[in-house]
């Protein structure tokens, strides 16, 4: 490294510079230290411990027994455990694709049509689910989707009585019903984020497009979507993680039932670690989930950043 430095640099200058650089480095580290400490204690350490635990059979209190990769093998051998990962991917459609797609449409409609008070009301209503405690929301959705619930009452009233069912207790419809709750929660977040992005787009671009005779759809496809690539990336990242690592929405609505049809890794990790006290097996599933999330998120990040530079 040092041979690359300009030869003209005198020794004193060098020491002065390196001293200053060192002080800046130390100062910088001091600023970062509190956050770094928190991050280390609450994120990095648990992460490393989880990886460590995944190689042991351990009940959380007693002695630990080294089992190597056996816990990972168990996850692949037990269909109910592996099945949770497939359910999580199925949830991505409901928690991620639909809210982001719908969010784009809703945001562009609000941006174009309802800029005034109506827009503010629409934003607030859509964002409200983010503010309501999810447990309360889960109970309300439980009532709405129950056999005697409002949704079935409406279906009966409009003559679609044949379609009524206990949505959260039905093998075919429980996951979509959970997905519906996910859409309700995440649509507002996506809409508000995308709308903020749209307001940053130079209005001149839209104006010139309109002068050229572009319709709403052309504007949407040619200007909005490409320029919101980064915001869409953020939305996808957050919602995909919400889907793959889902716990709360599923726990408060179905707890994984009926018959594991809505069971996701988050629920299984919780039950394995805290009810079954199979900490090693729970950790193995958690590590696999983490790797999976990273594998899915990296391409999204890569795609959304590409072209921004």
């Amino acid at each position: 490294m040092s041979e690359n430095r300009p030869a003209a640099l005198s020794i004193s200058q060098r020491t002065y510079l390196s001293k200053r650089v060192r002080w800046e480095t130390i100062g910088g580290w001091l600023f970062v230290l509190p956050a770094l400490l928190m991050y280390t204690v609450f994120v990095i350490l648990p992460l490393i411990l989880t990886i460590l635990y995944s190689f042991y059979r351990w009940n959380g209190i007693g002695p630990m027994t080294w089992v190597g990769l056996k816990n990972y093998a168990t996850v692949f051998e037990v269909p109910d455990l592996l099945g949770t990962i497939f359910n999580a991917f199925w949830l991505v459609v409901w928690f991620s694709f639909i809210p982001v797609g719908l969010g784009l449409v809703v945001a562009s409609v609000i941006h174009r049509v309802a800029t005034g008070r109506l827009g503010a009301i629409a934003r607030t209503v859509l964002f409200l689910p983010q503010v309501i405690p999810l447990v309360a929301a889960g109970i309300i959705w439980g009532w709405l989707l129950a056999l005697p619930g409002l949704i079935n009452q409406i279906l009966n009233a409009v003559g679609l009585g044949a379609f009524t069912r206990a949505w959260l207790g039905d093998f075919d419809f429980a996951l979509p019903a959970v997905g519906l709750i996910g859409i309700w929660v995440l649509l507002g977040f996506c809409t508000v984020l995308l709308l903020t992005g749209m307001t940053k787009v130079d209005p001149a671009l839209y104006e010139s497009a309109r002068i050229d005779g572009a319709g709403w759809l052309q504007e949407f496809l040619a200007i909005t979507v490409p320029l919101l690539r980064y915001e869409i990336g953020v939305c996808l990242t957050v919602t995909v993680i919400a889907a793959l690592a889902a716990f709360d929405i599923v726990y408060v609505s179905t707890a994984g039932g009926p018959g594991n049809s809505t069971s996701v890794p988050g629920i299984q990790i919780y039950v394995l670690a805290f009810t079954q006290r199979a900490v090693g097996l729970a950790s193995a599933l958690a590590v696999m989930l983490m790797v999976l999330v990273v594998l899915v998120i990296i391409p999204i990040q890569w795609l959304s950043r590409e072209g921004i530079s």
Binding site: D80, G169, A255, V271, Q276
Partner: protein, 472 residues
């Protein structure tokens, strides 16, 4: 930029190694300190006799382990939503004013998660509602109560259910040393709505399973819901109640208890259990349960039964107070009838289990409290009125009075039948800590959804049982 990442990584790795090096040690530590506990347990018993020698100078009643006269604060963990232990602790303080309580409470599901940490922590509870016990007993986290059993004469009391709180040295339940004690002994069976039962011509409880089947068919034909039951994974699958009732109606109870107690080689997949599971499947297919059962939670099921939906419901006497209050005079109870006429009816009947931490500061006082609950007339009365269940106790103890015509009256009488026949069972959902969540609930839900038949139900649950045992 790269340098910083490298440093960060280095830091993470180093701290990871440090922690990795420490963590087995710290986690092993409790077990090391706990390991001597079982051998210590008898050693802590001499204070019992020591207390006895001190006793004469104290209250005249004290002849064994007791609470003394100095101020004592019992450190207790109770289950949220159940009044009984709170009412009992109030009454105890009234009689023994030197005893005060530091009561923490939590939901049952949270207790399952917290108990190991509480028992192994710095301030171990003197008294705690135990969700499960085998692993805690094995790890020496629970006090061995054999000494107290001898001192108080518990081992001569008639309730066979006491054995459910015994853990043998090989980790099987049902025999061995006593590690927990019941505040009372719950009983399960069939509750029925008297008005609706009269409507289908039921004049007396069914004597055989065939009689019961006939009543269910009549109810269905009359356009009534024959059985109200819950089934959401959020509360755990309520069809486990009728399933176990059918198992004990059709076959012997011993193999079921052996399976629950984790006896070596025990299986739930027996021919008579298969017949029982097939019978349940027929009930499901005949539409005897609510169509939305997989989405019904426990509290909703009860609320709907109280409101008059369902002729029968399988539940336990812990709901007596609620039923007697909200459908007074309109609710009756009978034990699941045997398949063969003249056979003994069987029932799930389990102690409301409380334990004492191995390192509890006031173990003697806590044990004295447990003995007081079973023997003191006022405590027994509270036990029955508030808890709804049999208070147990010595064979010559008088049974508290209950309102005539109340369902509590029915369940206490039925409990006597089960105790005499020796056909009490623990609950099949208690065999391992998560067999309910991971085994019975999903498998029974699948049976309701037509995704699984009786044979694969038992196979799935047995596979899950073996998987969980292999993880211990």
């Amino acid at each position: 930029m790269n340098k910083i990442t490298v440093r960060l990584l280095a830091l993470a790795v180093i701290s990871g190694i440090l922690l990795g090096a420490c963590s087995p040690a710290t986690t092993a530590a409790p077990s090391e300190t706990q390991a001597p506990a079982p051998t210590q347990a008898p050693a802590t018993q001499p204070p019992a006799t020591a207390a006895a020698t001190v006793a004469p100078t104290q209250a005249a009643t004290a002849s064994g382990p007791n609470c003394g006269t100095a101020p004592v604060t019992l450190n207790a963990y109770f289950e949220t939503g159940f009044d009984l232990p709170f009412k009992l602790s109030d009454e105890f303080t009234k009689e023994y004013p030197n005893v005060t309580w530091d009561i923490k409470q939590d939901q049952f599901a949270n207790l399952i998660n917290e108990t190991p940490r509480l028992l192994s922590g710095d301030n171990p509870p003197d008294l705690i509602r135990l969700p499960t016990m085998v692993s805690f007993a094995k790890q020496g986290l629970l006090k061995n109560l054999d000494g107290y059993a001898t001192a108080f004469g518990w081992d001569k009391w008639p309730m066979a259910q006491i054995n459910q709180n015994r853990v043998a040295s090989d980790g099987t339940r049902g025999s061995g040393s006593l590690y927990a004690w019941g505040l009372n002994y719950s009983l399960t069976g069939v509750f029925y709505n008297k008005k609706l039962a009269a409507q289908i011509g039921m004049t007396q409880p069914p004597a055989t399973l065939a009689d019961f089947d006939a009543l269910l068919a009549k109810a269905k034909a009359a356009g009534l819901l024959p059985i109200m039951q819950w089934g959401s994974a959020k509360s755990g699958m309520g069809l486990a109640f009728p399933l176990q009732a059918l198992m004990a109606s059709i076959g012997p109870t011993q193999p079921i208890n052996d399976w629950i107690f984790q006896k070596k080689g025990a299986t739930i997949d027996t021919p008579s259990n298969l017949t029982a599971a097939q019978h349940l499947q027929q009930w499901i297919q005949a539409g005897y349960f609510p169509p939305d059962i997989n989405a019904i939670e426990y509290t909703d099921s009860n609320a709907r039964f109280v409101k008059g939906e369902g002729v029968f419901t399988f539940n336990g006497d812990w709901e007596n107070a609620d039923y007697d209050k909200n459908m007074a005079g309109n609710v009756g109870f009978f034990l699941m009838p045997p398949a063969t006429a003249g056979g003994d009816p069987a029932a799930m009947s389990a102690p409301l289990t409380y334990g004492i931490a191995a390192n509890a500061k006031n173990a003697d006082c806590a044990a004295f409290f447990l003995n007081w609950v079973a023997t003191n007339p006022t405590a027994r009365q509270i036990d029955v009125t508030v808890g709804g269940s049999n208070p147990g106790g010595p064979s010559d103890a008088t049974m508290p009075t209950v309102t005539a015509g109340s369902v509590t009256n029915d369940t206490l009488a039925a409990g006597a039948v089960v105790n005499k026949a020796g056909t009490a069972m623990d609950f099949i959902a208690n065999s391992t800590s998560s067999i309910f969540a991971q085994g019975w609930t999903p498998a029974l839900q699948k049976m309701v959804g037509g995704k699984e038949d009786a044979a694969s139900l038992l196979k799935d649950v047995q596979a899950e049982y073996l998987l969980e045992l292999s993880q211990q």
